[in-house]
């Protein structure tokens, strides 16, 4: 077989714009590049000199799919800098907001973006002709997520009710209770969805050397707090994030790659990592489903991320229902604080993985320095490593088919390229 280059010009069903370039030397893979050419968005520079109160609303603008995670990492980091502790009620409501975002993001990705790959369709639209009930279910799950974020965050996309110290306004009992019946339906639908995706035929593929990393918390499934846990058994304090994980510039991407300093190797964040490392903290229904569908205790098949997303939607519905049925929050909606110079950092779990924020603030409550490390940029190097391994499984003379299978793998990670710096093109080159 001659040397060649395969390039997928437009990788669809991912959020953002980028490309995939593969150079082959006979059967050997010379080079794989996940090319992210979207211009840098410079949010960190934009924040400098602005009042710290602007930060949650500005960082939410980084992403239309996971704005809650950006708001949460930013308010938690700023609260750490200002030594503000929020009430348990506010903390629960923030987890409720997370549940909304996970339901919306995972529901959309599983049904309309990822499932078509397993069922042989080019798009969710094509799939809707033969699987209308499943597509309708996906749209309804997405709607539930949006409704929850709308109720608690003031609007479904780029919510505006989150502030340093708590919320601008607490929800009323009726607003919480209004969602219960839909969420009861949603929990059952999430169980059905997970059984459905677990029945897909998965490629026999394992990412053998991948290190899985996510937040971990002794009492809860990780969303908004914890320490970093790794599949190699390490525990890393969030305060050591930048010492442990190094961002590196690579010529073919406007998003920074990341490696673990101690190993010099890439790592993977996201739903599969979270489930791999925190399965015992999933809600009871999600745990039972994980056993029922026989998900491996340490699943190394990235294509099965769709099952992990299903388990997380079940968890999100179950936790959301618990909070919605509980006594409505009373007392003040937010803690007051005094400006003080300081530094604070936080990591929370966006749908696509751990999102780290660090801020330095001054005595006047202005942002002096901001550092934001999104999950997709951290996952890039691992995606490239997995692709390199995957290509040897799928390479054929049919370049279109090879490219399509490479796209399938990239979509399994649900990359949010807009967050990390937007389209993906795949090019395979044989020299």
């Amino acid at each position: 077989m001659s040397n060649r280059t395969i390039k997928v010009e437009t990788l669809t069903r991912v959020e953002g714009e980028g490309g995939l370039y593969i150079r082959l030397n006979g059967e050997a893979v010379d080079e794989v590049r996940l090319e992210i050419y979207e211009p840098p968005r410079l949010f960190e520079a934009l924040l400098r000199g602005r009042p710290l109160e602007d930060t949650p609303d500005i960082t939410a603008r980084i992403c239309g799919i996971c704005p809650v995670a950006y708001q949460m990492s930013s308010v938690h980091a700023l609260e750490a800098a200002l030594e503000v502790t929020v009430s348990p009620e506010v903390r629960r409501l923030r987890r409720l907001l997370y549940c909304g975002e996970w339901i919306e993001s995972h529901g959309l990705h599983m049904h309309l973006l990822h499932a078509p790959d397993f069922l042989g369709f080019d798009s969710g639209l094509e799939m809707a002709k033969e699987f209308p009930d499943e597509v309708n279910r996906g749209l309804r799950l997405k709607k539930h997520g949006n409704q929850l974020v709308d109720m608690l965050g003031g609007r479904a996309i780029h919510p505006i009710n989150v502030c340093v110290g708590g919320f601008y306004r607490l929800p009323k009992r009726k607003e919480l209770q209004n969602l219960i019946s839909d969420f009861e339906w949603g929990l059952n639908a999430a169980v059905e969805t997970t059984r459905w995706v677990a029945s897909f035929e998965f490629p026999d593929f394992e990412s053998t050397d991948c290190e899985y990393i996510s937040l971990s918390h002794p009492d809860e499934y990780p969303m908004n707090a914890g320490v970093m846990k790794t599949s190699s058994g390490d525990l890393i304090e969030v305060g050591n994030y930048e010492a442990e994980f190094e961002e590196r510039q690579v010529p073919h991407s406007t998003a920074l790659h990341a490696i673990r300093n101690s190993t010099g190797r890439p790592y993977l964040l996201g739903p599969l990592s979270r489930v791999n490392l925190n399965r015992d903290k999933l809600s009871s229904t999600a745990r039972k489903l994980a056993d029922e569908v026989k998900l491996e205790p340490l699943c190394r098949n990235p294509h099965k991320s769709i099952i992990a997303r299903g388990l997380e939607i079940i968890h999100a519905y179950e936790e959301a229902l618990m909070i919605l049925r509980d006594e409505p929050p009373k007392g003040k909606s937010r803690e007051s604080y005094e400006y003080r110079a300081g530094e604070g950092m936080s990591a929370t779990e966006a749908p696509r993985g751990t999102l780290f924020h660090r801020y330095i603030v001054d005595d006047d409550g202005k942002i002096v320095e901001a550092c934001i490390i999104p999950p997709t940029s951290q996952n890039q190097a691992q995606i490239e490593a997995d692709l390199k391994q995957w290509i040897s499984h799928v390479i054929s003379n049919d370049e279109q088919e090879t490219a399509r299978k490479c796209e399938n793998l990239v979509r399994a990670y649900d990359p949010c390229i807009s967050c990390s710096t937007h389209f993906l093109n795949v090019k395979i080159e044989r020299t």
């Binding site: 669809t12 069903r13 959020e15 239309g64 799919i65 959309l108 309309l112 973006l113 969710g124 639209l125 809707a128 002709k129 209308p132 597509v135 309708n136 749209l139 997405k142 709607k143 609007r155 479904a156 996309i157």
Partner: protein, 160 residues
């Protein structure tokens, strides 16, 4: 008594510059006798999927680019090949034509779907509508109201 409307008017847009034009048209129609229509403001095209159930007519008002001079307005009956070639935006590639095609596959699409687009110039945060786009919004809202026989509010028509 409010009778159940079977006409859905949707403005798609954002608060930024000329991207407000879809919302502006919808708001002007909402200020008429609202018994006759359901009016919703959408941020992304997929919002429409939530509101179509039981509707017989759907009118979509949106900003567009690539159809003519700034401030020109255009309308299409769905399905239309022209829509695919124009620039419409949508999260996760769910563009307006994709949403309408999806609604059709799922049996949710009203029998009549008419799309109005106003050619825009800028979508800068904090900017208001460009003069020619604002003028087009008034004409499009009036044309839709006349076509659907949507009356002015009683008080308004009384003083007129």
């Amino acid at each position: 008594m409010k009778h159940h409307s079977q006409i859905l008017i949707t403005g798609i847009g954002s608060p930024h510059g000329d991207d407000q034009v879809g919302w502006e048209i919808a708001k002007q129609i909402q200020n008429r006798d609202s018994d006759f229509v359901d009016v919703h403001l959408a941020r992304t095209p997929d919002d429409l999927l939530d509101w179509m159930e039981g509707m017989k007519q759907l009118v979509i008002c949106d900003a567009c680019q690539g159809a003519g001079d700034v401030g020109s307005y255009h309308h299409w009956e769905w399905p239309s090949d022209q829509l695919e070639t124009m620039k419409w935006s949508g999260t996760h590639n769910i563009s307006l034509p994709t949403v309408l095609a999806l609604a059709e596959e799922l049996g949710r699409l009203p029998t009549s779907v008419r799309i109005w687009g106003v050619e825009i110039e800028q979508t800068q945060a904090g900017r208001s509508l460009s003069e020619s786009v604002e003028a087009a919004a008034v004409v499009v809202a009036e044309t839709i109201c006349q076509a659907l026989s949507i009356p002015r509010k009683k008080a308004e028509s009384h003083h007129a």
